[in-house]
């Protein structure tokens, strides 16, 4: 049962052939079985999950009308605040902190009866592409335990790929949902900026952060997206408009007559040959389904990475200022408040976080602001314009999600630039506030590891991601004969 999709699990729960308690127990057992190898979870809320499951079973028994995903378990990225449950953001800084409130995403999950199994590992404060920057331990890719599961949301994607949970929540600032999805053979969606509330998402870069659904199928992601998405008065940047019909779009998986734009700048140098081959094969599938494949150019994407590494650190330098040992989290040092703050921040933050705080502090300094932060904002506008022009020529845009398959743990740990290049194809969507999905495109010929196919659509056109994604997913499934994850190593055999 744990290898089924969330939609299938939900159907079994609705028909009464399965209880949520049994389903939750099965997943907890799987976690016990494999998580010492995968290390996807930072915290497992066994009692809380079972209590939630009992409540959902009772409500179902009482004949209550429940939400479609009621009773299905989920793994929550540890950057998302959940009342009373440790929330560390993968940082020593917040060790032991139990938030006194629920994020809007958690509140909506609870209201929908989704069972929260626990908190998943991540790069510290979502800064990284490999989950190696977690202050606790790295997470391992279920496809090859010596490799990274992507990042920053490597814990959530690894949990899906290892069948520890059928659904997960991630957050994506520059690719932290989509890149882990690509390298673990799972599905991840970065919704339109403002489409899912950020209230209770511990901020890395406020103007780029976006929470989204992670799953093993496109339809599962659509169901989860509908649970967590939509206007939230607690988030001023939340869009006050109804969410597009995502589940309907995923079920209506047709691309006939659609224009699909291939972004010229997101391929070629730096992309692994096998990843590009899978990308082109996927394009052929879409063409066979009746889509019109066109090439588009986004000339300013070249500057996206540079702009991102000014804007995100600038915002993070300010967002992370609040971790000062005064109100929550760890505290160390003696003497004045300033000395305590300094000692705590020295101890509590890891190397990559410090690197970005320093970078951002510098970029915002008087005398440098215009050259750095100011220029980066201009690039951001140009990238948005590139998207607008491209969307005039195509209904959706596509690219490989990440330039390579999963690399070895430790391989790029001392080369930040090489690490940053992982997000070259995912960052533009964050800068422009548009939406993107990554779905598995197959296993690369060189290493047999999964690669991702990215589909991007304009703001509030998230339904197109699901429509095109589900069409490609179905075509590839019939080509492969079985879901991609069936080819992953069986971790359970002890």
């Amino acid at each position: 049962m744990i290898e089924k999709s969330a939609t299938e699990m939900a159907a079994a729960l609705q028909s009464g052939e399965l209880s949520s308690v049994d389903l939750t127990n099965a997943h907890l057992a799987r976690i016990d079985e494999v998580d010492e190898k995968v290390k996807a979870f930072l915290h497992i809320d066994r009692d809380g999950a079972l209590k939630q499951a009992e409540a959902v079973d009772a409500r179902r028994k009482a004949g209550e009308k429940l939400s479609p995903l009621a009773g299905v378990p989920l793994a929550l990225k540890d950057v998302m605040v959940q009342k009373g449950i440790p929330t560390t953001c993968g940082s020593k800084m917040l060790e032991g902190w139990r938030p006194p409130y629920d994020s809007t995403v958690v509140a909506r999950l609870k209201a929908a009866g989704v069972i929260i199994l626990g908190k998943t590992n991540m790069d510290e404060f979502a800064m990284g592409s490999s989950t190696e920057n977690s202050a606790y331990f790295p997470t391992h890719n279920p496809w090859d335990l010596t490799r990274i599961p992507g990042g920053s949301g490597g814990g959530s994607s690894a949990a899906l790929a290892a069948f520890e949970a059928p659904l997960a929540i991630g957050t994506d600032t520059g690719g932290s949902i989509r890149q882990p999805a690509a390298v673990t053979g799972t599905v991840g969606v970065k919704p339109t900026y403002g489409g899912v509330s950020r209230y209770g998402l511990v901020a890395f870069s406020s103007s780029l952060d976006q929470a989204g659904p992670c799953a093993r199928t496109v339809l599962d992601a659509a169901y989860l997206h509908e649970v967590i998405g939509g206007y939230d008065p607690l988030d001023s940047t939340s869009i006050n408009a109804p969410l597009p019909q995502l589940v309907t779009a995923a079920k209506n998986a047709s691309v006939k007559g659609m224009k699909i734009g291939v972004i010229k700048e997101l391929q070629g140098d730096g992309y692994q040959a096998g990843v590009l081959k899978l990308f082109n094969e996927s394009l052929e599938e879409l063409a066979k389904l009746g889509a019109d494949i066109v090439e588009v150019s986004c000339p300013h994407f070249e500057y996206a990475l540079a702009a991102y590494y000014l804007i995100a650190p600038s915002e993070c330098s300010s967002n992370l200022a609040r971790f000062d040992a005064m109100r929550y989290g760890i505290r160390t040092g003696e003497g004045s408040a300033e000395e305590v703050m300094n000692a705590t921040r020295e101890l509590g933050f890891g190397k990559e976080v410090k690197r970005r705080i320093i970078l951002g502090t510098y970029a915002l300094s008087s005398g440098y602001y215009d050259a750095y932060y100011g220029s980066a904002q201009k690039v951001r506008t140009l990238i948005s314009r590139d998207f607008e022009q491209a969307f005039e020529k195509a209904d959706v845009l596509v690219s490989p999600t990440a330039p390579t398959t999963a690399f070895k743990i430790g391989e790029k740990a001392n080369d930040p630039i090489a690490m940053y290049l992982n997000d070259i194809a995912t960052i533009p969507t964050n800068l422009a506030g548009v939406c993107g999905i990554s779905i598995p495109s197959g296993l690369a010929q060189e290493d047999g590891l999964p690669a991702g196919f990215q589909i991007m659509a304009g703001a509030m056109k998230d339904d197109r991601l699901y429509q095109v994604g589900a069409a490609l997913e179905a075509a590839l499934l019939s080509k492969w004969g079985a879901p991609i994850l069936s080819k992953a190593p069986k971790l359970g055999a002890k």
Binding site: M80, V81, T87, C89, L94, W97, P99, P100, Y101, S103, R198, Y199, G200, L201, V202, A203, S205, S206, S207, P233, L234, D235, S236, T237, S314, E315, S317, S318, A321, R322, F323, D324, M326, R327, Y328, A337, E338, M341, T361, L364, S365, S366, Y369, Y373
Partner: protein
Amino acid sequence: MSLTYEKLIDKYEPVLGLEVHVELGTKSKMFCGCSTVFGAEPNTQTCPVCLGLPGALPVVNAKAIEYTIAIGLALNCSIAPFSRFARKNYFYPDMPKNFQTSQYDEPICFGGYLDVKVDTEEGVKEFRIEIERVHMEEDTGKSLHMGGATGRIHGADYSLLDYNRAGIPLVEIVTKPVTGTGKYAPEVARAYVSELRDILRSLGVSDVKMEQGSLRCDANVSLRLIGAAKLGTRSETKNVNSLRSVERAVRSEMLRHAALLEKGERVVQQTRHFHEDTGDTTPGRSKEQAEDYRYFPEPDLVPVAPAKDWIEEIRATLPEKPSARRARLQEQWQVPDKEMAAMINADVLDQVEATVKLGADPTRARSWWLGEIARIANEKELPAPSLPITAKDVAEIVALISKGELTDKLARQVVEGIINGEGRPVEIIEKRGIKVVSDDSALMVAIEKAIAAQPDVAEKVRGGHIPAAGALIGAVMKETKGQADAAKVRELLLRHLGQA
């Protein structure tokens, strides 16, 4: 060698810059729903947002925007169709996020003015104070430094933090450099803050209590040689908690600057603290090395873009300007400038207006509020409006006097009783047994008694020496315990002695 104030003015021109912070009287905070009520138990009016907990996000209080627009319109400002919040980044324990959400280069209101009147040797003169900007920001929490002798952070054993104030909406009103006030700079500064306070009160946007800190003024002062184009180095005086202090602080800084300049020393650009007791300022932190606040647009908030219709709606409901109201009342009541100024100074204009509205004659209403009531207020060192006597009480007293049921002297007893909390006028009259003796026969008995006691005096009066009657009238008043109408007594007495 220090200069006298007169000599200083001959040589230097003072330039002022006034920054007034106003705590808005909204029910909830700037970016969350927490209460803003003053004086609650520490940290009981907080939530994830105003505590800056990880993940929490701000949402702008629409009422605060409405109030700020009203302030801007009342100060003749333009309202920006599009303005933004920014983050002012610096570390301080009482600031939960270690940045303050404030408007920076895009304020909501800009380019206004306020005219203020000052009493000068050449009569009442009007000064125009140009307003640079009016912008919104959030207040910080409060640090309480414990264990030290001074309550300052220096020497304290530990500090306690109270975040109740964190996130209370503040409006900052900043003037352009104010020049051309010459020797009246201190009075102009005071008149500006006073006028501003009246406007804010009339708008109902703040309780404008300087002593509680809901209205705070920072006074920037610099001196330049008369005729010089370049501004001198300024100091910024904080902790100016009353109108009187504004005036004193400006004067004190002018004298201090002049003394330094005369000695050939330079003025250090710094923050200074004003001390109410000594009237002096002492240095705070130096601003020589400008702090870098790394301002950038607040990404958690969308721009403020008030609809034109909304702005016009607010404009249409603005109350009468205090200056216009004063002119109107002065005209209606036919009051001389000096009396008008006295009412404004004693802060009893509202009370007098209300008393007149209840039917009292303006002159009488004014003389009660400025006379007996102001006297008691002075004695108690309290502002007159805070005494427990209302316009209704005064109107009633005035009515009783004109009906002849009270004399002025008796009425003063009633006023005293009201302020002592003995009840309303009629109750006090009853309880204290206050009664005007108007019965002629009863008065005649007292008059006969007085004449019998002082026959020689009576003889003088009979002989045409009228002023001698005073002693007899006094005796009658004493006999009747002041309850007689003195004019009536005089009339009866003189008639009885054949002099009327």
